[in-house]
């Protein structure tokens, strides 16, 4: 029993290390886009990714053929959505300064999932718990905002976007 557990642990560590070596770069890129931090100063993105990877590690033996990349990305996205939902206005956050800094957190989520990760519209909607046409609207808005470089939203615009219904 003890021996089997040890060999299972060793196998898990080996597979997980290979997975992290292959996927961490892209996942960290996704996380950094979401948090709108600059690529070489991204503590929030690193923290999000570490927690998501820890969950993937803990559930590695029960993945049963499921894609660990998709699983980790799902964790990352839900954790980010959760944080932005509950922390808004609470703790003072640093002003985002990355490529997507002009967007609201939810627009960033949709833009990254749809355009960078190439996820289908209905899958994105299911992951974020939004109706599909809402996802389309958010994506269009993000594209319109990013394609026009002069766009800078007024700070008050974010309010209704994240207000609990």
């Amino acid at each position: 029993m003890q021996e089997r557990q040890a060999s299972q642990g060793a196998r898990r560590a080996r597979e997980f290390e290979a997975f992290v070596a292959g996927a961490a770069g892209r996942l960290l890129h996704v996380a950094t886009l979401l948090t709108a931090e600059v690529p070489d100063a991204n503590p929030h993105a690193r923290r999000l990714l570490t927690l998501a990877l820890a969950h993937t590690y803990a559930s590695w033996d029960r993945l049963r053929g499921e894609d660990p990349y998709a699983r980790t990305r799902e964790r990352l996205v839900t954790r980010f959505a959760h944080e932005t939902w509950y922390r808004h206005g609470g703790r003072a956050r640093r002003q985002p300064s990355g490529a997507l800094a002009a967007l609201a957190p939810r627009e960033r989520l949709v833009a990254v999932l749809r355009l960078y990760e190439g996820m289908a519209e209905d899958q994105t909607a299911a992951l974020l718990g939004l109706p599909a046409d809402r996802v389309r609207v958010l994506c269009d808005r993000a594209v319109a905002a990013l394609a026009r470089p002069a766009y800078r939203p007024a700070p008050a615009v974010r309010g209704p976007e994240v207000a609990p219904s």
């Binding site: 961490a24 960290l28 570490t50 927690l51 990877l53 590695w60 490529a99 833009a111 594209v143 394609a147």
Partner: protein
Amino acid sequence: MNRTEREAAVRRLLEQPSPQVPAELYGDAVRRGERMLRRRTAARRAMWLVLCAVAVVLAVWAATARPWVEPPSHTTPPVADW
């Protein structure tokens, strides 16, 4: 600019230089993951322990109290003629 061109422009924007993955990220993730697994194992063990304890207590109580046996009557019928 039409829709596909705009989307292509945004995709190019998203392909910014990738951040460097810090060396300690793997170690941190494994450490946290191990802790999560240990906690889950401990919680599962505690749950089984409580379940077994409840089963034993129930069995002992049932054997001593015998709740299925009809209790002896405490009232006697009134006696009229003697």
